[in-house]
């Protein structure tokens, strides 16, 4: 762990599609990039025991999570030849159909972005203390567990 405070990855509420479009636009000045790969996690309206998920409420051990996100970012830059990488995760309520995770990698060449993106997403799922409460339409809930 270094002394520098890690970047805050969290955004309150869902990640808007306009924000994603603007992030893409900002990379058009970086003309060494040949390939972008974007992963978006979207909240599913799963039906569990006859009840439909209407939203997920995310909480996190924020300080630890940001340290972990930072470690994943540094590890990915070491493993893969990436020009840029951006990670955003929602906190609070994200309704079914809305986006809760946005991971964006860019590289001069395409082969590397596929491997890098999958690595980063799997690491996030496994390593980062974020907790999703699946809220049903009748206001009951259950705690989500990543597979």
């Amino acid at each position: 762990m270094t002394d520098k405070k890690p970047k805050n990855v969290f955004k309150q509420g869902p990640i808007p599609s306009e924000f994603i479009g603007e992030s893409i636009a900002k990379h058009q000045t970086k003309t060494s990039i040949g390939a972008h790969n974007i992963f978006l996690g979207q909240v599913r309206a799963d039906v569990i025991d006859g009840k439909t998920v209407s939203a997920i409420e995310y909480t996190a051990y924020e300080d630890m999570a940001n340290v972990k996100f930072d470690a994943i970012r540094e590890s990915a830059f070491e493993k893969f030849e990436l020009t840029c990488m951006h990670i955003y995760h929602s906190l609070g309520i994200v309704n079914a159909g809305e986006i809760c995770l946005f991971v964006f990698v860019s590289s001069p060449r395409r082969k590397v972005v596929f491997k890098a993106l999958e690595y980063i997403v799997e690491e996030i799922k496994a390593q980062v203390p974020v907790f999703g409460k699946e809220i049903f339409e009748d206001d009951t809930h259950q705690w989500k567990i990543n597979n």
Binding site: M64, H89, I145, N146
Partner: protein, 77 residues
Amino acid sequence: MIITIKYFGLIAEVTSQEEETIDFSGNTIADIINFLNSKYPDLKNKDFQVAQNQELISEKTKITGQEIALLPPFSGG
């Protein structure tokens, strides 16, 4: 030794709070888990990991007196 303990997700539901500060005299993480299992009997059936100073640790780890967190299974993304 004064320790701050943080609870998240399902674990915070069991303890009915997100954080508490206790004066504790045990040595290892196992000691603190035993103490919390007595205080919150429903904890025993729950799956969680323990972090100390924002690093996941095992039950044998010595308590350093800093921040301890009880973390249920992760479900980000």
